[in-house]
Symmetry: C2
């Protein structure tokens, strides 16, 4: 407490927690990423989704929704946007006429490659100054955290 004038306001013991730091990094990283991507419109937000479509073309919307942990209904709007920007195509499936397969257009493919390139620079900037060994430990630890969060309900 003391005299807080011109002091940074801190949150006490919590600041040492991993959950706190991870959230902080995520917020800062997201902002830096958005800034770097400002020229690319609203697409960068969906780099993850676009990469999934690139790696698994023709999947139905329901599976894509599952892959990005969104409701099917939420994905509709997103795909509408990506379609309006010419990134993505829906083609009705032949075997099951309820479903649309989703594909990247040529423009979508180029976009996702360019985005990933830029994101890779972001990644390099982010991890600057960490040794390969440190990176490995952090990476494994993060995997462990994901496990901890997934397994016990």
């Amino acid at each position: 407490m003391e005299n807080d004038t011109a002091t940074e306001l801190t949150a006490g013991e919590m600041e040492g927690w991993l959950s706190y730091k991870i959230r902080l990094v995520q917020i800062l990283a997201y902002r830096a990423f958005e800034e770097r991507m400002a020229a690319y419109g609203r697409t960068p937000r969906y780099l993850g989704l676009l990469s999934i479509i690139e790696a698994h073309p023709g999947q139905p919307q329901s599976r894509l929704a599952e892959a990005v942990a969104l409701r099917r209904s939420s994905l509709v709007t997103i795909l509408d946007q990506l379609h309006a920007e010419g990134m993505v195509e829906r083609r009705p499936s032949e075997n099951d006429r309820r479903t649309n397969g989703v594909w990247l257009t040529r423009a979508g493919l180029l976009a996702v490659q360019r985005l990933r390139e830029e994101a890779s620079k972001h990644e390099k900037q982010l991890t600057k100054g960490l040794s390969g060994e440190e990176l490995q430990i952090v990476s494994n630890a993060l995997d462990r955290l994901v496990e901890n969060l997934s397994r016990d309900e």
Copy 2:
């Protein structure tokens, strides 16, 4: 690609990136936290803010907004909510009649302590299985990431 039936849909090389993993952990951790906190209403979201107020009572809204990286105008609504829930008080400052000092009520103090207790369990579950040494390395690395994100514009 191959036959994707019953396969998990993945995002390719990006999945090895720290930026990707951190985002994933953050999303999962936030959900787990929300679930754990379901009984506590909408307050847990503001545990960080409440902790800051606890550690630095009587600060004006503008400094609190800065501390949580929000616009002053955004903090108004949040404090309105916290006030409606009886967690927080605004008292006009004596030296500067434009500003409100913000303080925890007795209920707010109890709430933030209870919340932090619960969040601490969340932290323990999250970091389960990591050695003290690993924790230290990860913690330092995350600090480094924050630096990398803050320093170069």
